[in-house]
């Protein structure tokens, strides 16, 4: 059964870096087939993976709306057409497929189309071993445009009090809004054990895993290198050992 993980967090906490590292870790783990979905309108997961999609899900949506306006169609044919176009929108690198959702809808209400699109994405995802969704802070976007249920939500925060508070707020919304089994708080860019302990004191949610501050990650980020080429480093190892192991291999939290 595929496992679906959504990664949320306020801007700047390293959410996309964590997502990219998770994609890499899963893809290398037993050669799993990974579907990486960039549901953040800022569209940074593609940059982090150095995969540039030709088309986004929103492009597909706009095309379909234009074709509906031009010709009548029925649900069966529309669903098939969506499926075809989504495949065209996929970018692949080895055993990783990447889908960018794109910018939010700009006009009109096409609820049935949005539902069909989401069902098409869910159908596509069913053929993969792991689905990693990099989302903005709002889980409702994931719910509405990508997938109705996820196996786990990772809330990424940095070491700041503000980051922790925002993560707690997002966590509350997530618990109410989405069908998910687990909500896990991930502390990112942690300098040392003392900082981690201080975070634990201030956090309303238990910290599930922590990722150390890492110069190699910083370098990759600053130079715009693909995280798929990231060498083994403390941050990546922490993600492998604490997150991948727990979620995908049934191990417990660190």
């Amino acid at each position: 059964m595929p496992k679906t993980i959504a990664i949320l967090g306020k801007g700047g906490v390293g959410k996309t870096t964590v997502s990219a590292c998770l994609v890499k870790a899963m893809a290398e783990s037993g050669k799993a087939r990974v579907l990486a979905i960039d549901a953040d309108p800022a569209g940074s997961l593609g940059l982090a993976l150095a995969i540039s999609p030709d088309r986004t899900v929103n492009d597909v949506r706009v095309d379909i709306i234009e074709s509906i306006k031009a010709t009548s169609t029925n649900k069966t044919d529309l669903a098939a057409s969506l499926d075809y176009r989504l495949w065209e929108a996929l970018s692949e690198r080895g055993n990783i497929a990447f889908l960018s959702v794109g910018r939010p809808e700009e006009e009109g209400c096409y609820c049935q189309l949005n539902t069909l699109l989401r069902e098409a994405i869910e159908g596509l995802a069913g053929g993969f071993d792991a689905i990693i969704i990099d989302a903005e802070a709002g889980i409702e976007q994931v719910n509405r445009r990508v997938m109705r249920s996820v196996d786990a939500v990772l809330l990424v925060t940095d070491t700041s009090l503000k980051g922790l508070n925002v993560a707690a707020s997002i966590g509350t919304v997530v618990q109410e809004a989405v069908d998910t089994k687990d909500v896990m708080l991930i502390a990112n860019k942690v300098r040392d054990g003392a900082e981690l302990e201080a975070m634990k004191l201030h956090s309303e949610i238990k910290i599930f895993a922590w990722i150390p501050e890492d110069d190699t990650v910083r370098q990759f980020d600053n130079e715009g290198l693909s995280f798929l080429d990231l060498p083994s480093c403390p941050a990546f190892q922490a993600i492998e050992q604490q997150i991948v192991s727990a979620i995908f291999n049934g191990g417990g939290p660190a």
């Binding site: 087939r33 074709s67 010709t71 009548s72 169609t73 029925n74 069966t76 044919d77 669903a79 098939a80 057409s81 499926d83 075809y84 176009r85 495949w87 065209e88 692949e92 080895g94 055993n95 497929a97 159908g123 596509l124 069913g126 053929g127 993969f128």
Partner: protein, 235 residues
Amino acid sequence: MGLFDKVLVELGQYLALKQAGGGLRELSVESQDAWPLKNSPVLKEETAVQLGGKGNASLFMMLWDSNNSGAANRISLLGPDVQSATPTLPLGLVIVVKGDFEEAYEAYRELRSAAYGTQPLGLSIRIRPDRSQIWCRISETAMQEGFSLSTYGTLLVERLKKVEPVQGVEVLFVTRSKEDVAELGPISAKAQTIIEAMVKMYEEMNFECETCDYNDICEEVVELKAMRESLRESG
């Protein structure tokens, strides 16, 4: 009289031409109970053969023949089968189902759904109805297991025969050249126009024929006209 009578005549002429020129052969229709069906995406790196899709000629057409109530099934192939193929091939897939389809629109939806939903494990098949395009990737694993177009054709036959009132199914695969696929284009375009007219009638239930883009085809195809009148009376 059937919806696709004239289209079927043109298709018959195409087949006769190809038969006369050599290269058109029949494949076996054997039970494929053992080949599992599963919607399983095939990634590029897993692909042994790609048919149709981006950069390759492709065409998908499905018709029904109400005049021919024979129960015979047939799978024909013009061109190489996938086991002896190069990594990419053009693909024309034409399906003709035989039976007495009284509820044409309902039959259309069920048949389309059945055809789209026939997804053999180890293949990714995507069909784009609005452009009559098809894209198929066959995995290395499926090829090693002995997958062939006979396998896919038989799975289509078996699936479509479960739709009432289908009595027989004929499947044609065209993989020889993009020109052979392109020759089906005008036939498919005609069929597509008929289908669009039918869909519009049923989906919009608007019978202002004077302003309708499909008025000409409705006048030409007796069945469409009859459909229109029947819907008008019942609406």
